[in-house]
């Protein structure tokens, strides 16, 4: 059984931050005396005061952060069914591959002939991503999914500008993730909202009315943000194409259809991939990520440079900036290379049959779990979900006053990371659950049992839910106060 509450020993988080361990003059290192003459730092670059950094012994730094990590719950600790986020377990073999010295110690400014292996990996990964998505070429530069979105929209803009009219609006379904409208604005477009129908799918007749010659394109995930497959996808893409627009595939949910069907075959023109969702690279958490973007043949001239090309005669790989209409760079060098190596490892350790099975198991696990909990948490929409499902605690709230947030907090006490709550916004008291493909049946049974126990307690012992969580280092946080009185610095 996964997810037993973590009990830590020793100093806990309440004992203070790393700054509280700071003692003036203490160091985690000692340099030898210099054996070269000291050079003075030019006055204009010299610091006026001491930096506000902790002065701590190495031993204390390690203790502090190890302790914090023990208080955390992560993909290595247990199932993390946070819907929409795809908190996949990251296989350790990908870490091993990424640590190979030839990859880890390569420098991005080395001459091409000294890094043929690294360039070949990028070249092969690009082709694998194109095969999975049905695209012609791809850029590996974007350092995260959101940057992939922006890249895709800039490609869309470049295409329309070349045609003589950049257009002004981009259509987005009302169930979409918040990054979509944000990317649209960043790319200089206005967001045009497309309503969902009673099934939770794009309202095609509304789309037909709203899409005109001023709409640059449509951004869509499929399966969509509610975990439902857009059955009329070919109709949807042709409505947009008929008005001269392009269709952008947000790769957030590509993991559900891996090896089964391809965005390119559905009529999409631009596809971004979240490597952490589809290929189990670590979640960035603000750190390095990768959001490659694939395009159809028509849009290849606008892709960022440099790209990796292979000389057919010699088989040598080289970086090329030969693309006159390119939108330019989206990131320094080649994107986050170490993350791309992990994605490559994942793709090739599974192979095409294995990747298809990844998608199938993700769908099976989500549907198994949905069936187990549906009595207490019915699906928000009638259709069969794919790799994740949106349930609602609305009936429970109406009967007991207990909300999705209370259930989530209680599930923590029962040893599991709770599902996403209150997203997507179009569903009241929503609970979005995505168990991912790696969890065993026993784990899914355990999570379901915890959710059902919480629902039962809502009727018999609601106080337990109001109090929850009680097993964690800190109790229920006052999220409203935290947001109203932002405190973003330690001092």
């Amino acid at each position: 059984m996964t997810g037993a509450p973590v009990r830590t020993q020793g100093p806990d988080i309440q004992s203070g931050t790393i700054m509280d361990r700071s003692r003036a003059g203490r160091r985690a290192f000692s340099f030898p005396a210099p054996d070269v003459p000291e050079a003075a730092v030019p006055e204009e670059f010299a610091r006026r005061g001491r930096p506000a950094l902790p002065e701590v012994a190495e031993r204390d730094i390690v203790a502090h952060y190890t302790r914090l990590s023990q208080m955390n719950y992560g993909v290595d600790t247990g199932v993390y069914a946070l819907g929409s986020c795809s908190m996949k377990y990251n296989p350790k073999i990908a870490e091993t591959v990424a640590s190979l010295p030839g990859f880890q110690r390569a420098h991005p400014q080395q001459p091409d002939h000294t890094v043929q292996g690294a360039l070949e990996l990028l070249w092969r990964l690009e082709r694998a991503l194109c095969e999975v998505t049905g695209m012609a070429r791809a850029t590996l530069q974007p350092p995260a999914g959101a940057c992939g979105e922006l890249t895709g929209l800039l490609l869309m803009r470049a295409h329309h500008t070349k045609q003589g009219n950049a257009r002004t609006r981009v259509a987005i379904p009302d169930s979409s993730h918040g990054t979509n409208p944000a990317s649209v604005r960043l790319a200089g477009y206005e967001a045009l909202h497309i309503p969902s129908d009673a099934r939770g799918l794009v309202d095609v007749s509304a789309l037909e009315k709203l899409v005109d010659e001023d709409v640059a394109g449509l951004m869509l995930t499929n399966p969509n943000t509610l975990g439902l497959f857009e059955e009329e996808i070919e109709k949807i893409t042709s409505v947009v194409h008929n008005a001269g627009g392009l269709v952008y595939y947000d790769g957030a949910n590509l993991n559900a259809i891996l090896g089964r069907c391809r965005p390119g075959d559905m009529g999409f023109d631009i596809v971004h991939i979240n490597t952490h969702k589809t290929f189990a690279t670590p979640h960035g958490g603000g750190g390095p990520g990768a959001g490659p973007v694939g395009v159809t043949e028509e849009l290849v001239p606008y892709l960022p440079v440099p790209s990796v090309e292979r000389d057919e005669a010699t088989g040598e790989f080289r970086l090329s900036a030969d693309r006159e209409d390119s939108i330019g760079r989206m990131h320094g060098f080649h994107g986050n290379f170490g993350v791309l190596v992990r994605a490559y490892a994942y793709v090739f350790l599974h192979g095409s049959d294995g990747l298809q099975e990844v998608g199938e198991r993700a769908v099976l696990n989500a549907n198994y779990l949905a069936e187990l909990v549906k009595e207490a948490f019915p699906l928000a929409y009638p259709g069969r979900p794919m790799h994740e499902f949106v349930a609602t605690a609305r009936p429970l709230r109406d009967r007991t006053g207990i909300r999705a947030m209370d259930i989530a907090k209680r599930v923590i006490d029962l040893g599991f990371h709770p599902p996403t709550v209150y997203f997507p916004l179009v569903v009241e008291e929503s609970m979005m659950v995505e168990p991912t493909e790696t969890e065993t049946r026993e784990t899914l049974d355990g999570l379901a049992a915890a959710m059902l126990q919480a629902a039962q307690e809502a009727k018999t012992d609601p106080d337990i839910l109001h109090q929850a969580p009680v097993t964690t280092p800190v109790r229920r946080l006052d999220e409203a106060r935290a947001a109203r009185h932002l405190k973003l610095r330690w001092s």
Binding site: Y422, L425, E428, E479, A480, A483, R484
Partner: protein, 131 residues
Amino acid sequence: MEFPRDLRYTNEHEWARDEGGGRVRVGITDYAQDALGDVVYVDIPELGTAVTAMQPFGEVESTKSVSDVYSPVTGTISERNPLLDERPELVNESPYGDGWLVVAEMSDPSELDSLMDAEAYEAFVSQAETE
């Protein structure tokens, strides 16, 4: 849940109070604040901003979401609630009182007649609840 009789209501869950002389005070309803949850930030336009009936003129952000606020009437903003910058929670605590958002000078006072009265709004909310 409260539905004060002296107010007019929109189907986007704003209320409007006719204060005479073309002035109308605007806020979000008890139902709206309950659905939003704890309000953490209120974004309302500067004085003198022109607003249009049933167009968004501001945003209310809660721990759950960010929602547009629609203007019940067409006109110009003449007052903003100065308390909300420091105490956005007033929207939850007193949606019809200290949690008001703005006062607008209406260009067409008859617009108020097209909004729902308390009875109609209460029925509208109860319909939304059973859906």
